[in-house]
């Protein structure tokens, strides 16, 4: 995975989350915690997952979602899956 590609994924993830949580993208970064910083409920979390699945043609299980706590972890997860 090249640095540029990770940057693209990061940008897509941040824009998706900003859109759904009604936040400004520049307020979000890889350290942003979904639960503690954004106070995401299940509905918002699933909206993000569904939009990212569609954007990258992925399937993300509930078990995998449970392990994704920060934006950085989502970015790394997608990057890993795209590399497979």
């Amino acid at each position: 995975m090249t640095a540029i590609k990770r940057q693209d994924i990061q940008s897509q993830v941040i824009n998706t989350i900003a859109d759904i949580t009604d936040r400004i993208p520049s307020d979000l970064n890889e350290q942003t915690n979904l639960l503690h910083d954004l106070d995401l409920d299940s509905l918002a979390l699933f909206e993000i997952v569904i939009d990212l699945e569609a954007a990258y043609d992925l399937r993300i299980s509930d078990e995998e979602i449970e392990n994704l706590r920060t934006i950085g972890e989502i970015v790394s997860f997608i990057a890993r899956r795209l590399d497979q």
């Binding site: 299940s42 509905l43 699933f46 909206e47 569904i50 399937r59 509930d62």
Partner: protein, 167 residues
Amino acid sequence: MRPLGNLMNDYERRVNELLLDIFDKILVTEEKALSKGNFSDLSVAEMHTLEGIGLYEARTMSETAAILGITTGTLTVAIDRLVRKNYVDRYRDQNDRRVVRIRLTRKGKLAYRMHSKFHTLLVDRLTEPLNEKQRQILLDTLLSISGFVSEQYRRYVTHAGQEEQKP
């Protein structure tokens, strides 16, 4: 106490009451969770139709009807409603225009995932206090109950089918 319980011994009565109570309460809880949640315009039956379609699949009507164990006519009525409510997308297959496919919309996927979470929480809460051995016993017992009930169901369906064929 349920009237039928009068004819049973204590153990039979307790097992019978517990089984019916669990069955009733899961159904009612499922209904309440739906009606008070974000998808209050969906019935439990409609939610199960979404489950039959699947989260990622683009199934034909007959495939979905077979999964749900209903006729394509019954499914068509249900799908008409779900399309109107924007939970299901119905479209013609690109390779074969005669084939109509259905898939969940974004809203349908959201409802599916939220409903799935409800069931996951139900199972998690139920099995949380159990150790590995107890979990296995629970699973084995449920498999046995499910097998028995399915067998009874098949017998009644077959019997009903035979009766329908009578002049």
